[in-house]
Amino acid sequence: MAEINVSVNGRAYTRDVEPRTLLVHFLRDAIGLTGTHVGCDTSQCGACTVLLDGRGVKSCTVLAVQANGAQVTTIEGLETNGALHPLQAAFREAHGLQCGFCTPGMIMSSVDLLSHNPHPTEGEIRHALEGNLCRCTGYHNIVKAVQIAANTMAAGGSAVAAD
């Protein structure tokens, strides 16, 4: 076992983990944050996407020990003071989700995208989401959601009240 200290959504956790524990299993099983999903075993679907020190990563392909000392943000940590992140609001507004399983990863990946490209074109959005698979939406409304969120954020909106 190895002891790790990880900050998840701003809260510090100290846990003993088997070195083989994947970050996604640490999040889901050790600290009970089940919003991050596992959709594949070949690092492709992106359902497990979280932010590791601010960058989007596939938490199924990161060992929990690699996150020792790091800051992790999951879908559960996106709201601020009870207000939805613009991407969360936009995914609902644009019907960018159906079964909801890929959604947390899709949103986290989009957060990463907009953090370094605040005004992506449709093509850039589609390209940036190549590591996140959705089987329900055909991506049409996901792309729209990211565009809406980009506009909201450009207009200075940081968060949207949940209704």
């Binding site: 009970g32 079964c99 589609r126 055909g138 792309v143």
Partner: protein, 791 residues
Amino acid sequence: MATTAQPGASLMGASVRRKEDPRFITGTGRYTDDLKLAGQTYAAFVRSPHANATINAIDASAALAIPGVHAVLTGEDMKKAGVNPIPPGWLHPGIKIAEYRALAVGRVAHVGNAVAVVIADSPTIARDAADAVVVDYTDHPAVADAVSALKPGAPLVHADAPGNVVFTWQLGDAAATDAAIAGAKTVVKQHLVNQRLIANAMEPRASLASYDPAADELTLYVTSQNPHVHRLIMGAFVLGIPEHKFRVIAPDVGGGFGSKIFIYPEECVVAWASKVVGRPVKWTATRSEAYLTDAHGRDHDTDVEMAFDANGKIVALRVKTVANLGAYLTLFAPAVPTYLYGTLLSGQYNIPAIHVDVTAAYTHTTPVDAYRGAGRPEATYVLERTLDVAARQLGIDPAELRRRNLIAPDAFPFQTAVALQYDSGNYEPALDKALAMVDYKGFRAQQAAARAKGKLLGIGLSSYIEACGLAPSHIVGSLGAQAGLYESGVVRIHPTGKVTVLTGSHSHGQGHETTFAQIVASELGCTIDDVEIVHGDTGRVPFGMGTYGSRSGAVGGAAIFNSLQKVKEKGRKIAAHLLEAAPEDVDFAGGNYFVKGSPSRAKGFGEVALAAYLAHNIPADMEPGLEATTFFNPGNFVFPFGTHIAAVEVDSETGQVTVQRYVAVDDFGNVINPMIVDGQLHGGIAQGTAQALWEGAQYDSNGQLLTGSLMNYAIPKAEFLPNFETDRTVTPSPVNPLGVKGAGEAGTIASTAAVANAVIDALSPFGITHLDMPLTPAKIWSAIQGAKGGN
């Protein structure tokens, strides 16, 4: 764009934002694998690496020696305990049903066939231990493709299915078809392969079972599209547990596309094992397991003959199909290549004579069953691909050839030559609208100009019809279904006027919590937030047949609608009583009962609800309470239709296809929530396009799955697809009170042929008339070279 609900206004036809989204966008959805019960253990399966093998011995000693392992259980253990094989849910005369045991006994028939299960304290220990189970096999030759399986001398999948024939099935008038073909001006012949697909719902299958000895009750959480069907079949046929001692809960389900209809070995094992080990047992599939064990779809090999008169009118259609059903029969497998396929072979067209002949084969592969569309995409592909081949051969424009053969709008109800009676339809307006949206004439001009510069553009049409709202119990019963296909809907009005709806439909992405709430809010004049939709729990919902076959709106929604009418009617009597008026003088609108002509004499729906429960002052002959149940069993299927058009560009140097535009005009009858219907369509188009261009399960001759992961089975990424352009015509269905049809599968049914036709159209300058899917760059390039007289 979504709209926000206004109380009082009718919400039918409004793009209301989804009620279920807040939990999904915040990570608080609850999927089966998210659940954790006290004392929970974990299952891992030992699976066959061989497609056809005898099991000589299973040595679990090393696995059992690993600390944290509770049990290693085998098929013999299950059989000894009295667990039965998993039965199919649809029978044909003469069908050969192979014994399908949750854990194999004596032999395995496909790679991934479960042989043993390990139950352990953690998933890692379970996996380690499963790897430590040693199984001694004798490997035998295998057969993976159905055409080979039916040849004399092919390896036998099951000793009691000679020649690997599961059943043969025919529909239509063979003699009339033969005669019409013999007398036809032109007969177009085409061989078509509709390749095997793998559904790949993003949430892998999972199950969690817990046995409570105090109540002698088993609870199973499972990724199911139809929890009551799970309870019925697992309880009554496999495990021998009566319904009142068996609760099945399907919490949030992360997509299904058919693959979560069926009763799978793993959930039977988990349910049984939880009682054996006396602890809750959870199993969650890896994606690799999903590829090997989720039921696959399609896999037809078909010869088509389409006969025409001198005017380009179809006079007959003869279809001969070999369907690969894999190693075992799962729930709907016998129905998919027969009643969901052969009956659709008239499409939108007036075809006087049709005959279809299907032979279903066992092979040493993963079972094949319903995948989004289930039979109807195969039928549409047969018709629409062949029509394009014919158009080329006859020298008639593909759009014009379709138009000439459409069933006339005044011909409904229309009896096809393959059993179905279409109740309604008006096909030409959808065709015209789609052609206008894509600017068909303009595209043809652009295409000609591009060709002159060596650029390959193509356009493809698919005018489809589908029969969905899978329901009429008397019809499906007469055709071999072992269950009815009605749906239940309970509307429970609480004393405050708030509403709980219990539905047997089960959303796994379709948004029922929203659309069903829209029906309620529109009928009762409340807001959707006043309505709670309960689904996916046999402990709360009286009964249900679940969600597949685009049936939830047309059958489940209609059941709720009818219950709402019953509730409103009872409310009217109470209101009349309170208002001292005759019931026939009381109207209901905007959430108020009022006396006709004097709207100030009114009682709000909430007041009436309270009165119903107080029962201090209700009609003397009336029971208290305000609740109604409906089991809705419509008289027919519903028949959505439309025309989809794809425009593509093919890179002649690499064979790469780019989908430039995709236009869809559909008729789903009345639409409850256009935003959700468009979403269903988008996803369906993506999956159908994927069959045309990228997806295809491949086995080698030993029955090894070569496309067993997302590394080698290409489901579409965002970049592969364009935005979709959608529009509708509206021809309400007469068979349900909502006038709705199904929209869940149409995109998949239509799009495969549209995209394939577009690619072949692009390649037509080379004289290429057909290629089998998926239309990969390698295949396209080789075909171009072949046409050029090169390689």
